[in-house]
C-alpha cells in the first residue's frame, strides 16, 4: 500500500486499532481530541468498545477493569488529564495489568496552554503515582514512528503485564504527514491471559481476584522484587535509541520527539559550518538508553547538549548517564514554544554559555 496523509492524533487511533485495541475509554482534552473522536466512529464500527467517560479518573479505572477482564485496552489524554490518571496508573502497575496510554503533551504546569510541549517528561518517566513502579515510555519523533510503536505497544504491554505509554507533543498530534500504516512490526509470543477475571457466578470462565493490596510486609516485598525483575528485563530488552552521525563528533545532542527532528536540521546546518555534531535520540524514555553514553567513542568531543521543549527534565537522565565524563549543556524552550533549528545551531555555537555541569 502507498502512503497516505494522516493527522497525528488520527494516526494514533488507527494504529491502536491495528495493534488490536478492543476497548477505549477517554475524556476530551485538547490537543488530543481527534484520538477519541476517530475511535468513537471507527472502533464502534468494528463492534468494539468505546466509552466517553465522565472524567479522566473514571476512564483510567475503566481501563483497569477492561484490562483485568483480559481485553486490549487504552486511554488517551493530555498533560492535566494524564495528571488525573496517575492513581489509576500505579494501581495498574501494582496489579500487573497491561494497557496502552497515549499522552499528547501541552504546556504546563496547571492548565498551562494548548501548545506543544515536552514538559511531561518527568510525569511520564517518573510518574505521579505511589510506590515502586515504572511505566514503559516511548517518545517517537514522527507520525510514522508513532504508528509503528503503537502497533507494537499492546504486545509489549501484554508481555510485561504493565502499562505502556506513548508520549508525543501536541505538534505530532496536530500535524499531518504522509505515513504507511502497513509497515510490519515485531510480533511476540504471548501466553494466554490466565490471570483474567472473566468469570462470574452467571458467566462461564474462571474466577480470579486482581488487586494490588499486600498487607504482609514480606509478601509485598516479594511482590516488589518480582516487579523489579520485570523492570530489569524491560530495561535489558526494550531500551531503544537511534544514534545519528556519531562518527567522531565535536558535539553530541541528546533530544527526543519533535525536538530531535528540529535538531536533525540543526545538525545539517552545523555541518555546513564544518562542525560535526552527532545525536543520541532516545526512543524509549523509560528505560532510558544510559549505556550508549558509556560506550560512546568520541575522542574529540567538546560537550553534550541536551535539547528539550521544557526547562531541563531529560537533562537529569543525561547527567546520570554521562556520569561526569563530558561537559553537559542544556538548551530548552518552554510554554509551548517550538524552537527552530537556528536556535539549536546558536546553542551549539555558544556551548560554553549553555554548560550545566
Amino acid at each position: 500500500m502507498g502512503k497516505i496523509l494522516m493527522k497525528g492524533n488520527e494516526a494514533i487511533a488507527r494504529a491502536a486499532m491495528l495493534g488490536g485495541l478492543e476497548a477505549f475509554f477517554g475524556y476530551p482534552i485538547t490537543p488530543q481530541n481527534e484520538v477519541p473522536e476517530y475511535l468513537s466512529r471507527y472502533l464502534l464500527e468494528e463492534g468494539k468498545v468505546f466509552v466517553q467517560a465522565e472524567s479522566e479518573v473514571a476512564a483510567i479505572n475503566m481501563v483497569y477493569g477492561a484490562a483485568a477482564a483480559g481485553f486490549r485496552t487504552m486511554t488517551s489524554s493530555s498533560s492535566p488529564g494524564i495528571a488525573l490518571k496517575q492513581e489509576g496508573i500505579t494501581y495498574l502497575c501494582g496489579s500487573e495489568l497491561p494497557c496502552v496510554i497515549s499522552s499528547v503533551m501541552r504546556g504546563g504546569p496547571g492548565l498551562g496552554s494548548i501548545q506543544p510541549s515536552q514538559s511531561d517528561y518527568n510525569q511520564a518517566t517518573r510518574g505521579g503515582g505511589n510506590g515502586d513502579y515504572h511505566v514503559i515510555v516511548f517518545g517517537p519523533e514522527t507520525i510514522q514512528e508513532t504508528i509503528d510503536i503503537l502497533k507494537e505497544a499492546f504486545d509489549i504491554a501484554d508481555y510485561y503485564r504493565n502499562p505502556v505509554m506513548v508520549l508525543v507533543d501536541g505538534l505530532i498530534g496536530q500535524m499531518m504527514e504522509s505515513v504507511d500504516l502497513t509497515k510490519p512490526v515485531k510480533k511476540r509470543f504471548l501466553p494466554e491471559k490466565d490471570y483474567a477475571a472473566n468469570g462470574t457466578k452467571n458467566h462461564p470462565g474462571e474466577r480470579h481476584i486482581i488487586n494490588s493490596l499486600y498487607l504482609e510486609s514480606n509478601e509485598l516485598e516479594h511482590h516488589n522484587l518480582s516487579l523489579k525483575k520485570k523492570y530489569d528485563l524491560a530495561t535489558a530488552n526494550e531500551t531503544r535509541v537511534e544514534l545519528i552521525n556519531m562518527n567522531d563528533p565535536d558535539y553530541v545532542i541528546v533530544a527526543f520527539g519533535t525536538m530531535a527532528r528540529v535538531c536533525r536540521s540543526a545538525i545539517e546546518k552545523l555541518a555546513e559550518k564544518n562542525i560535526r555534531v552527532g545525536m543520541i535520540r532516545p526512543i524509549s524514555l523509560w528505560p532510558f538508553p544510559s549505556s550508549v553514553f558509556e560506550t560512546m567513542d568520541a575522542p574529540h568531543l567538546k560537550g553534550i547538549l541536551c535539547v528539550e521543549m521544557n526547562l531541563g527534565m531529560m537533562l537529569t537522565d543525561v547527567l546520570v548517564a554521562n556520569n561526569g565524563r563530558h561537559s553537559v549543556g542544556f538548551f530548552g524552550r518552554a510554554g509551548g514554544v517550538v524552537p527552530d533549528p537556528d536556535e539549536v545551531v546558536d546553542a551549539i555555537l555558544h556551548f560554553n554559555e549553555r554548560v550545566v555541569k
Binding site: 502512503k3 496536530q174 499531518m176 504527514e177 504522509s178 540543526a266 517550538v338 533549528p341
Partner: protein, 184 residues
C-alpha cells in the same frame, strides 16, 4: 527539487487557509513525495489570523517548524504584515490583490498579486477564492500537475460535496491563468 520547500499560508479564519495547505500536502503524498502540514491552532485562530505551514520534499523531512518561509501565501493585509519579513532571501509572496493594494514588500522578495476574491465572485462564489489561489501557486511552483490537483480535490470534497468539484476546478484553472499573465 533539491531541497524542501517551506510554504506559509495565512489569512482570516474562513478563507480556506487550512484547506489550501492540506491540498498541497495531499498533492505531495499523491505524487509519492514527503509532506508535512502544521496548523496554527492557538487562540489566535479565533477571530484573528489563521495560518498553517506546509513542507514539501523529495526526501525525509527533518524539522517540522521553520521561521523563514520560501513562499508566503497571504490572503489578507494583516497576514501579509505579520509574516512578510519572515521570508528567505530571494523568496516570494503570493497575495490576494482583491484585499491587499500596493503592498510594500521586503527588498529582494518578489510579489505576485492575484485578485482571487474577484475571480471567485465571477465564478459565482467567494468560497472558491482559496482554490483560485491554489491554481496560482501550482502555476508558480510547478510542483504538481493539474491531474494530481484534480484527483486530490475530488477525494477532498468527497461524495457529499461532489457537486462543487466543477467550480473548484474552474477556480484552479483561473488562478493558473492569472499567475501566468503576471509571469508574462
Amino acid at each position: 527539487m533539491c531541497k524542501p520547500v517551506n510554504i506559509r499560508v495565512a489569512g482570516f479564519g474562513g478563507q480556506g487557509i487550512m484547506m489550501f495547505g492540506q491540498m498541497l500536502a495531499y498533492c505531495a503524498t499523491n505524487d509519492n513525495m514527503f509532506s508535512l502540514w502544521v496548523p496554527s491552532y492557538g487562540p489566535e485562530t479565533r477571530g484573528g489570523t489563521a495560518n498553517c505551514s506546509v513542507i514539501v520534499s523529495t526526501k525525509m523531512i527533518n524539522s517540522p517548524v521553520f521561521t523563514n518561509a520560501d513562499v508566503l501565501v497571504a490572503f489578507n493585509q494583516p497576514s501579509l504584515e505579520k509574516f512578510k519579513e519572515m521570508i528567505v532571501p530571494g523568496g516570494c509572496i503570493l497575495y490576494n490583490s482583491s484585499m491587499i493594494h500596493d503592498p510594500i514588500l521586503p527588498e529582494g522578495v518578489r510579489g505576485y498579486g492575484i485578485p482571487i476574491n474577484d475571480i471567485a465572485l465571477e465564478l459565482g462564489t467567494i468560497q472558491v477564492s482559496n482554490m483560485t489561489m491554489l491554481g496560482a501557486y501550482l502555476e508558480f511552483s510547478e510542483l504538481f500537475s493539474d491531474a494530481t490537483a484534480e484527483k486530490v480535490l475530488e477525494k477532498y470534497l468527497g461524495e457529499k460535496k461532489a457537486h462543487l468539484l466543477g467550480i473548484n476546478k474552474q477556480a484552479i484553472l483561473r488562478g493558473r491563468e492569472a499567475l501566468r499573465a503576471l509571469k508574462g
